[in-house]
Symmetry: C2
Subunit: 453 residues, 2 copies
Amino acid sequence: MTTTSFSPQGNSVPLPSCFLQLKERITNHTAQVAVVGLGYVGLPFAVEKAKVGFPVLGIEQNPKRADRVNQADNYIADVDDAELKVLVEAGKIQAFTGFDRIIDADVVVICVPTPLTKNLTPDLSYIESVTTAIAHRLRPGQLISLESTTYPGTTDDVMRPILEDSSGLKQGRDFFLSHSPERVDPGNKRYTTKNTNKVVGASDSLSLEIATLFYQQTIDHVVPVSSAKAAELVKIFENTFRAVNIALVNELALLCDRIDINVWEVLDAANTKPFGIMPFYPGPGVGGHCIPIDPHYLEWKAKEVNFNTRFIALAGEINRRMPSFVRSKAFRVLNQLGIAPSRSQILVIGVTYKKDLADWRESPALAVMEALLHDQVTLRYHDPYVPSLHIDGHWLESVELTDDAIGSADLVIITTEHSSVDFSRVLHQAKAILDTRGATRHLSDPDHKVTLL
Amino acid sequence: MTTTSFSPQGNSVPLPSCFLQLKERITNHTAQVAVVGLGYVGLPFAVEKAKVGFPVLGIEQNPKRADRVNQADNYIADVDDAELKVLVEAGKIQAFTGFDRIIDADVVVICVPTPLTKNLTPDLSYIESVTTAIAHRLRPGQLISLESTTYPGTTDDVMRPILEDSSGLKQGRDFFLSHSPERVDPGNKRYTTKNTNKVVGASDSLSLEIATLFYQQTIDHVVPVSSAKAAELVKIFENTFRAVNIALVNELALLCDRIDINVWEVLDAANTKPFGIMPFYPGPGVGGHCIPIDPHYLEWKAKEVNFNTRFIALAGEINRRMPSFVRSKAFRVLNQLGIAPSRSQILVIGVTYKKDLADWRESPALAVMEALLHDQVTLRYHDPYVPSLHIDGHWLESVELTDDAIGSADLVIITTEHSSVDFSRVLHQAKAILDTRGATRHLSDPDHKVTLL
């Protein structure tokens, strides 16, 4: 049997036997899958793969997390407790803190963080150290796929040299390398790992073919693109689109504040247009691990070719300015009440970056709170998902949302609109509210207690 | 019978009798409706109103257009020829060039252009002259509604004083004034005047009530907002959203050009994400009467409060720069072929601003063509909707898209992707193509003839 690749040029080249073996192991779901990083991307992915039969080994440098996985003690909201338990007990998922078992893996999927430095430049240290650890153990016939969001060129220009140089193996012949950006939307019940179309890119045709086949085993629709850098750019563009549109409505909110128009009314009305519009709303800023970060990876990379990604720069600037706008608006509300901020009690409701999620990374509520603490405001907060917080030298504990907690505050600032909070009750009990999320905008407010962002 | 208004404060005030009479005439469809400006907004609106029984008089300063309406000779693609004929023959629609008959109107709807000056400042001359003409004839019980897109404050701060000062009548008591921005999307078969939700704003409760009632007679869903300026801002925001998102993907195209990534592949892949994304594509710039214009109305107004609408400024700058980018990319393609632009023949396909529409106002294709003519390119164009063009001192006539016309050009530039053009045939016949619309991006191109924007 002569097997040839599907190279678009149509020229037939004999396929490496390691490729054919890997293809078979993927097709019959016997390939050993390693997932590096068992966070909100890696753990759901590991579960999806194990569910269809793949033996999965997880590599997680945090020993507490690795232990919890091995005890089937789920810590990711998008993972089903019972599913994880069944898979762990069946030995289908095992977690390790070190990389030794990588040698057994046919496919290695990397789901590690790609944060920013304080100066908004990419921090690829996780990707680099993981790639180096893999490179030392690389063997023919392995597929390495990066899921972390990063700038175009990371897979080809950063990972590939590390993998090839220390192993002596060659991509596209001995091993395979792809980028397939995660599109996890934490808390999204409708679109999960399985039914969210997945983009895959690689810079040689065998890597693209094998990676596409691998993802097709558990994902309904896989979208191959012609290069790893195109796949990298797809993901950054998706989050840039969101960052820019959030900044656009934040800028609109800043303008509406000046010309005395209710920005929420404008946006709600604009969103009744049945075509050509997509709803975005202003807020106290952006948070989480994607929107405030990913675009700056592209901004940094573009400077190499003397290109200023001006929309990214502008969006970042406006979104990062919002907490300070919230603080100044809080001052104006207090001023109308005749209270100096340093003599005021403020209750902040919601500190996570997104509603109904236990994630306060990069949350703009923290920036608002930090500013208010700096202004010597007496600050309390309520968040059902965040029992305690350390902000700028202060330890704060979430308070219960009692009538007294609401009513004793001079001002309530709504920074996250968790579904568990009864905003109608908050409106009834509060003396004054600064609502940065529009959570109360459809409620009756006869006493004009609410100031909307 | 005591009739009172629905003022949100709940205080009962006796309603003016002229209001009650107007309400009755609107409800039983006997109100005389005047539509000022019988263009792509006014004429479809006139037809919708006449279809449900309202007698409609159109006021159109262009005598040729007024004559054509009176002869039931339709000139607006979104209007049905037969429907217009029936209504004109039944005397339900009559057109005039002067304002004398305004005295007979119960409702006056203004659909006149709001262009920009060359310096990107608002040109309200049409609104002002129409409002003045109406003011001289204003009588108690009339509703005046502005549909033209304009900056927040036009209805209240420009129109109201003109109407009140010369008539001595008072808004909200003697006459009624509202803003209801048109949302016409020319060529949209699915969303027409009738089934596109319509926003209405007014700054007194009686004007809002009567205007809402008037629009409800022919429109499925009317969305009242609390002020005319909020309604004005809604419309500008809708088009700002589009202008900014087009500019964002145009900036992405400029970057992709530098880092050698196919922007169309990136966007097509990004648009497979089933949530959180909305498709926009790059192109040779923006055109028409909305996207390049409306946002600058807001930009201008915002300067009054020392506010820079930076997204609008940036979007305008990037979108207006695209024709020059197309020209420089055309030069690069010609350079690869070893042909000096001044010795080249270029065929431009499509000059309207939007596909399948006969409208070349502000079309970016014209800017591209003007630049190429300036470079002494031998230029021809094909557009089924535009038989001839006058550009910068040159008269051009659309050529037939024969094999010879395509094959004799050194370069074909696709600037509008009309459905009537067989791009597969163009690709087959052409020597080289610069495709600014991605019209050929899914076609097989074995000879690498196509350069995508």
